[in-house]
Symmetry: C2
Subunit: 218 residues, 2 copies
């Protein structure tokens, strides 16, 4: 397997080429840095962008939900899909409006999705999701029963084309603007995890498990 | 103006109706809670989902970028667009895998975009963007010149249909599962802004302005 995806018409950067990456390491790093993605698909010429949770194994990106979901019923038919994952890392204040920017990481994937039909494979995929987000929770909780498995669709997107775009660092101003008396720099932002909130109906005798601490520190 | 958008075929929730909102207050609140959106559009049947910065004035949502951007060149032609804004607010750990969930807020807008052609209107829109994200920075920085204005496209999307989906609160388990010895609750997450990082080329005599403090506290 090549270390890079071959950029095609859909994924090749049209501009700001120094921000574009096609290697698997860069693209995987963006995909794996969070679990919120946006899935784009088309029904009768109308685009839809649906936020959902994703997880990855190799070149396969998974997402799931209710079998009644319009998004899942549509994309599992194997139509073209674009799946995008983005993070805003900061506001970039330049000395000119034109060079104000944001620091960000994004990955844009193109491919076709299919439903994971094999029951064992589907259960394994769901376990991978839970183990990835909530390590330690799967053995504690009740596993899905047959009815719940039927009510759940798991989709797998095979990455055909992909690119990442990443901007980091300070503003890049026009040389003559560096003399201006204007503050310039970056206001960084990031996502933090706060202390867990116990379900009000949780039995007092159930202590906060160690794995919660790991999630909060992750 | 009605306080709600009329849900149409594109925006009416197909399931989990208690999470769906069509009133302007709910939808505006999601749109205004952050500046990262995902714009969906179609080229030759292929969907694309491009992350970008958005801002809002009434029922108009704006986004901008290089005039060479594929996304902007495409959507300004007035084709159908879907613009989605999403926030993940927490992981919801239930006593069964089926009821594990996430707390989130999302808004999905449908409409057509057009380029803001009038120069004064375009400059005013860019000022609204900067004033919203970086209040105080516009008067300090160099305003865009003619060439930069030409190189920048500002698009305005008029919201035709819209919906918000919001999940909050603890897990909702099956009644019989509340007896299980499994931790349940919410692991909250949020975006924080860190202390500003001065551009290494910033003149030492330029102090951190007060408006930076406001951005960090916002």
């Amino acid at each position: 397997m090549s270390d890079s995806f071959s950029p095609g018409e859909r994924s090749r950067a049209k501009r700001v080429h120094e921000r574009a990456h096609y290697d698997r390491d860069s693209i995987y790093a963006v995909l794996d840095a969070g679990c919120l993605c946006h899935v784009g698909y088309v029904i009768d010429g109308q685009p839809y962008v649906t936020p959902t949770i994703h997880w990855r194994e190799g070149d396969q990106v998974y997402f799931h939900g209710s079998s009644a979901s319009r998004m899942l019923r549509t994309v599992k038919q194997g139509i073209p899909v674009c799946l995008t994952v983005s993070f805003m890392d900061g506001l970039v204040l330049a000395r000119s409006g034109f060079h104000c920017s944001v620091n960000y990481r994004s990955a844009m994937l193109f491919g076709q999705a299919e439903a994971v039909e094999d029951e064992a494979e589907k259960l394994a995929a769901l376990k991978t999701l839970v183990d990835g987000l909530l390590p330690g929770h799967w053995p504690q909780m009740r596993a899905p029963n047959d009815q719940e498995m039927k009510a759940t669709t798991v989709c797998r997107l095979n990455i055909e084309e992909a690119s990442a775009k990443i901007r980091t660092g300070p503003p890049k101003d026009d040389e003559e603007d560096y003399a201006l008396a204007c503050w310039a720099g970056v206001v960084p932002m990031r996502t933090v995890i706060d202390p867990p909130i116990r379900d009000p109906r949780l039995n007092d005798e159930i202590a906060d498990p160690d794995y919660l601490q790991q999630i909060v520190q992750a």
